[in-house]
């Protein structure tokens, strides 16, 4: 029985790939290294149909990529990056400008997709990602709660849900200590009107906006699971799928999983809205991200040509239509559905949230935030002392990295 199923599945997938076959045969061996989420899987699968292509989908790609691209010849021709992880490649100059290749093969690309740095196209974006409000529309409707638009409203709604006894911990949060927790602060701080750096590269988080951000983050703890400091995006996604939480500020790339009938018990019950604002007249408290491809510099021009042509095959309308709900695609042919509403509302809000800054300093500050914030949330240290500690930790590592003298 089991064997039969496998044989059948194999046959179906063969048929499938035959139907979706590539428009040309790729002759040059090409390898790619990217993150491992659903959208990348769809894109690399489409590229593989052209042959001679090997994809490495690895969530640890960010630690491997800089060294792999610095090798000569580079270990991968195509890299999957986001605005956070492109920084080391740009700094080390290991990716090539794509202007001529875009001219040759990029007829279907929209101008919006071309990431220009000083006028040169350095990457081609395929999707946008952002953290936005996901909520159980049924639970909120039952209690007559309007869709929250600010964090104060989110907490008020959470209090109501808790009071009504629907859920003990109605709020989910990606507050796993380290990168995730730091990202929460990075979302909140500009929302409160704060900026991260002064002109001389010293950090500006030790400010009133910083205090306000910490206060907003701390207020969440009343409504979240006590183990929230170990909860990452996957954990929050599962909490949603199992019906344990009613609201969370979660990545748009996780929205599709809510309607995955194999995993989710809440199919069709989770709605998306713009990320909550920190202050009523401000921007949504989140940052905008894009994911896209880059081509290595340390490879021959023929290889770069083949790699880019292959990537364009992966980023065509056919791929997007096959995986419409896997991401908020920027590629032509994408049909936004209900689950894209929140992300689109966030990205088009006025004032709009900032893009995550791709700078060396931001990497250092992100680490400092991730290491110093937990002590505040566990109550071991007060807000003012925490901000001072963040500033000191940043200063130490910035001096070591040569950013500060």
């Amino acid at each position: 029985m089991f064997l039969k199923k496998i044989a059948l599945a194999g046959a179906v997938s063969l048929l499938g790939s035959a139907a979706l076959a590539c428009s040309y045969q790729n002759e040059v061996p090409v390898k790619s290294l990217s993150a491992g989420f659903e959208a990348w899987k769809a894109v690399t699968d489409a590229m593989a149909e052209c042959g001679n292509f090997q994809a490495e989908l690895d969530q640890e790609f960010r630690t491997k990529q800089p060294a792999a691209f610095e090798a000569n010849p580079s270990l991968y021709q195509i890299g999957g990056v986001s605005n956070g992880t492109i920084t080391p490649l740009l700094n080390a100059g290991t990716i090539r400008p794509l202007d001529d290749l875009v001219e040759k093969y990029g007829a279907n690309l929209k101008p919006n997709q071309l990431i220009r740095i000083n006028g040169q196209i350095m990457a081609v974006a395929m999707m946008v990602n952002t953290q936005h409000l996901m909520y159980r529309s049924d639970v909120l409707a039952d209690l007559g709660i309007e869709t929250p638009t600010t964090w104060d409203e989110v907490y008020a709604a959470a209090a109501k849900i808790k009071e009504a006894g629907v859920m003990e911990y109605p709020l989910g949060a990606t507050m796993k200590s380290g990168w995730n927790l730091a990202q929460e602060f990075v979302n909140m701080h500009p929302g409160h009107g704060g900026k991260f750096f002064n002109d001389d590269n010293t950090t500006a988080v030790n400010s009133d906006a910083g205090l306000a951000s910490l206060e907003t983050m701390q207020a969440a703890l009343e409504f979240t699971d006590p183990e929230v400091l170990v909860s990452d995006s996957t954990y929050v996604q599962q909490q949603f799928q199992q019906g344990k939480i009613a609201m969370a500020n979660l990545w748009a790339s996780r929205a599709g999983a809510m309607n995955d009938e194999a995993e989710s018990q809440v199919v069709g019950k989770v709605a998306m809205a713009a990320a909550p604002k920190a202050v009523a007249d401000g921007a949504p408290a989140t940052t905008l991200w894009w994911d896209g491809i880059v081509i290595a510099k340390n490879i021959s021009d023929e290889e770069a040509d083949a790699a880019f042509r292959l990537a364009m095959e992966g980023l065509d309308a056919e791929t997007v239509q096959g995986a419409n709900d896997a991401a908020i695609w920027l590629v032509d042919g994408y049909q936004p559905t209900d689950i894209a509403e929140g992300a689109i509302a966030t990205a088009t809000a006025n004032p709009a949230p900032p893009a995550y800054p791709s700078t060396t300093q931001m990497g250092l500050l992100h680490t400092a935030l991730g290491n110093e914030l937990p002590a505040f949330l566990t109550g071991e240290r007060d807000a003012a002392a925490t901000l001072t500690a963040i500033e000191e930790a940043y200063t130490t590592s910035a001096k070591e990295a040569g950013v500060l003298k």
Binding site: T85, R116, E227, W290, T348, N371, T378
Partner: protein, 341 residues
């Protein structure tokens, strides 16, 4: 043995040790006194990134490294003396906290927080591992021959499991909706969160480590028990020594070299505790020295690594292990000299 034969046997292993242990150690030692930085410049950069429908372009001053004509980053290495050690130890903050008499403030400094946990983890699990190992060995030794095989097999199982997998399984069993937590919640009727505060996490770590390492102690002790002098034991029985007195005055002294051996291995292993931190995701509450080094070394999204602090921190870890090992090593040395007479 002829020197030539001796050298032929030992040579390859000495070569490997020099290549893979001594050389990296020297390099880390040197790096802990150096800082390597790229040469940076400030340039105005215009970046265009996608919104949903249109692009937003921003022009800002960015700090970027200068590249040479081959496209490589130009870096410069400076001798900074003990600066990296100062950055890790943060003695000024430490003394200020000591001056205030505030334990809590000392525990806010990463290194001291990690040292506190590493030491209590090492020193608390040591007697437990030896005690539990000895207890299992004695129990097996006194069990009837027919069931000894299966008991030995079962008690060895925890030792076979890969440490990371072992700690992950404990995490999955005890996390918010894990099987064991759900069971305990049903019994007690209260909400239990094992990973919400430091002390429960630490308890689980101690429990896990003892469970994992005790079989090792057991195997060694069990082998040792087979060599206990039966005549001495029998005369002790005739002299009217109780079971406890026989254990204390005959068996334990006989096993003493083995106890020291296990203590040595355990101190070395435990001081490098790392798997539990990662497996239990305990960074918010509990960190260890080895994790601190790892954290310094992990590149962030922008590709920065704090190599100098990582080197300093690993040198400090090594110094810590050496200090811990002095006592048991001195004892073995004395025994060794004593037996030579």
């Amino acid at each position: 043995m002829k020197f030539k034969t001796f050298a032929a046997f030992v040579g390859p292993s000495v070569f490997m040790m020099l290549l893979f242990i001594a050389a990296p150690l020297v390099s880390v030692f040197i790096q802990s006194f150096q800082v390597t930085q790229p040469i940076l410049e400030q340039v105005e950069v215009e970046t265009c990134t996608p919104g949903f429908l249109t692009q937003t372009c921003t022009t800002e001053i960015k700090t970027v490294p200068i590249l040479d004509e081959n496209g490589k980053m130009i870096t410069e290495t400076q001798w900074v003396g003990l600066q990296s050690y100062r950055n890790v130890l943060q003695m000024d903050k430490f003394w200020a906290a000591v001056g205030n008499g505030s334990w809590n403030q000392i525990m806010q400094i990463d290194f001291w927080k990690a040292l506190r946990f590493t030491l209590s983890f090492t020193l608390l699990t040591l007697p437990l591992v030896i005690g539990v190992g000895l207890a299992i060995a004695l129990a097996v030794n006194n069990a009837t021959r027919s069931i000894r095989g299966p008991i030995i097999f079962i008690s060895l199982l925890p030792f076979i499991i890969t440490p990371v997998i072992g700690s992950l399984s404990i995490y999955w069993l005890f996390v918010g909706d894990g099987i064991l937590t759900t069971m305990m919640e049903r019994w007690t009727g209260t909400n239990i969160s094992m990973f919400a505060q430091a002390w429960t996490i630490e308890l689980l770590m101690y429990f896990y480590r003892v469970w994992h390492v005790a079989p090792f102690a057991f195997v060694i002790f069990y082998a040792g028990l087979q060599t206990v002098n039966m005549d001495t034991l029998e005369s002790a029985v005739i002299d009217g020594a109780s079971r406890w007195e026989r254990l204390r005055h005959v068996i334990v002294p006989h096993l003493m070299p083995l106890i020291i051996f296990i203590a040595l291995i355990h101190l070395m292993d435990c001081y490098r505790v790392f798997d539990e931190i990662v497996g239990f995701r305990s960074q918010a509450h509990v960190i260890s020295l080895q994790w601190l080094t790892f954290d310094f070394m992990t590149p962030d999204d922008a590709g920065n690594r704090a190599m100098s602090r990582a080197s300093a921190s690993s040198m400090l870890t090594m110094i810590g292990i050496v200090i811990l090992l002095i006592l048991p090593l001195r004892r073995t040395w004395r025994d060794h000299k004593g037996s030579a007479h």
